[in-house]
């Protein structure tokens, strides 16, 4: 694609890459405003999967025949693309996982269970997705560590003045936070939290599932210790994600899954682990999906993550402006300066399921529910919200259709 990283996106040309956007629902094109849940896939990724399974497929790291070598090249090539995408120092530090969730679980089990005990503190925030909440609650419960959260203010931003009290309550060992909130779009000050975590002698775990698809990621600049991403939220296949972790931590951790591939040698009386990152990749991995993940990264990188971020920022500004015209809509979350392309809202107290149902009839796909953030919903005082989220293929006309649809919701059920 002949787009430079600094140019404005050629959105119509991008849209032509996505077969789903050509389809009609009830005679209308679908305004797909649920990319925060999962994104549509471009032909480049779909074609690459077909090609890989057709001509390059075999199990990896084993066969001496050429086909197996080609498969291994594809799989390891994708690891290098992920490394570059998050600016990690080495591919030894990039572990392929099943999902961002599995990456966080890996750290929770392999680092958390081994290093936590009574008197220690695990810190999460009120904004976390359940995937970066429940694993920590579980390991804290298992080890006798205490489980503390950083509260948010009414605009959905972290209240960092709570940190001193948390630090005084025990030995902080883990701080876990999402870089972008999947419910409110809040862009969190992860660099500050990472610096604070290190002052406490803690490790910083970042859930970047909702950030990596939408803005440049640099693990070295963030100063974190672990960072988890997912493929399906950035135009890649489902079933694969990646965990970046500092080599010195990964080296000291026990394996998370055990079996083939993750060993150096096995005997009846002892087994030794494979080198990084294979120590954490037991079993046949999602080979073609990892390859497709790499193709998706190429696709986004050619367009430019900075350009994608700016495009979504403009859309978010537009959406917040249009929604502010509706006196029956209450938007949750921070101002546009500290918000990614996610807008959660309430419509005249009408339940989000009903809102989303009527919008669906208008060909507008949004998410309705708790977005896997029940502690946040409790803080906001709602059971659920309606959420619209944007991506590189989103156009302002789709936001107009959302607004038109919301008038219909109000008219029917308000």
């Amino acid at each position: 694609m002949a787009v430079t990283a600094d140019a404005k996106l050629d959105v119509q040309r991008i849209r032509a890459d996505f077969p789903y956007l050509e389809e009609l629902s009830n005679g209308k094109p679908v305004a797909f405003l649920d990319s925060a849940a999962s994104t549509q896939k471009p032909r480049q990724v779909l074609d690459a999967l077909h090609d890989f399974y057709s001509h390059r497929y075999a199990n990896v790291h084993r066969g001496v025949y050429r086909l197996a070598e080609r498969a291994t090249e594809g799989y390891e090539g994708a690891r290098e693309k992920v490394r570059a995408f998050v600016n990690a120092p080495s591919t030894r530090e990039v572990v392929f996982t099943r999902s961002a969730t599995e990456g966080i679980n890996l750290v929770a089990y392999a680092w958390g269970l081994e290093n936590l005990g009574p008197g220690d503190v695990v810190v999460i925030t009120e904004l976390e997705h359940h995937s970066n909440f429940v694993p920590w609650q579980f390991v804290a419960n298992r080890t006798g560590a205490s489980f503390r959260h950083i509260p948010i203010d009414d605009a959905g931003e972290l209240q960092l003045d709570a940190l001193d009290e948390i630090a005084a309550s025990g030995k902080v060992k883990i701080v876990a936070n999402n870089l972008v909130s999947n419910s409110l779009g809040t862009i969190n000050p992860v660099e500050k939290l990472a610096a604070w975590a290190h002052e406490q002698g803690a490790i910083m775990v970042v859930d970047a599932a909702q950030a990596a698809p939408h803005r440049p990621i640099d693990v070295q600049a963030l100063g974190c210790d672990f960072l988890a991403v997912s493929s399906h939220k950035l135009c890649g296949p489902t079933g694969v994600g990646a965990l970046w972790g500092r080599a010195e931590l990964l080296e000291r951790m026990s394996p998370f899954n055990l079996g083939g591939e993750m060993i150096r040698s096995v005997a009846l009386d002892r087994t030794s682990w494979n080198e990084l990152p294979y120590k954490f990749e037991a079993g046949t991995p999602a080979i073609a999906e990892a390859y497709g993940f790499g193709v998706a990264i190429d696709y986004l990188s050619e367009i430019g993550m900075g350009a994608i971020e700016r495009h979504e920022h403009e859309l978010t500004e537009y959406a917040l402006g249009r929604l502010s015209e509706l006196d029956f809509v209450r938007v949750f979350g921070p101002p546009v300066e500290r918000r990614a392309g996610i807008v959660s809202f309430d419509v005249a107290g009408i339940h989000p399921h009903d809102v989303a149902q009527i919008l669906d009839w208008e060909g507008v796909a949004v998410r309705a529910g708790h977005h896997c953030t029940q502690p946040l919903m409790a803080r906001l005082g709602v059971a659920a919200t309606t959420r619209a989220s944007f991506y590189l293929y989103t156009i302002p006309e789709e936001i107009d259709r959302l607004v038109d649809g919301l008038h219909k919701v109000k008219q029917h059920l308000g």
């Binding site: 429940v134 609650q137 579980f138 804290a140 419960n141 489980f147 339940h351 989000p352 399921h353 009903d354 149902q357 009527i358 009839w361 309705a368 529910g369 708790h370 029940q374 919903m377 059971a383 659920a384 029917h412 059920l413």
Partner: protein, 142 residues
Amino acid sequence: MSEFDQLYREVILDHYKNPRGHGLLDGADAHAEGQNPLCGDEVTVSVRFDGETISEVGFEGRGCAISQAATSMLTEIVVGRNAAEVAQMPKEELLEEIGIPLTPVRLKCALLGLGVLKVALHKSKGTPLPDEWMQGDDLTMS
């Protein structure tokens, strides 16, 4: 008929806007609450018995029009019936009363109240618990 009129037919909207059996009963004999894990919707049900007969049902909840209307309709269907019989009530009976086509996700909304009522009957009368309401130990922070 438009899609709106099909799903949100008048009787559904009436039950949604004017729910029957709304509010929990003082001094109820049985009580249960439940959530729909897909959307976090909540229903709490309280029941009064006259012997083995359900004499009164009250509910409170937070949920969509379908879940709240279905629970409201349920309170009308079950009053005056035997507890053990209601505990075995097939979901189709409630769905017929609701009388609208439901997608799998909305089906869970429609059946939330019925499930919670069966939990209340189980707790009070020892009737069988529906499979989907069986659960193991929770994680509770000390």
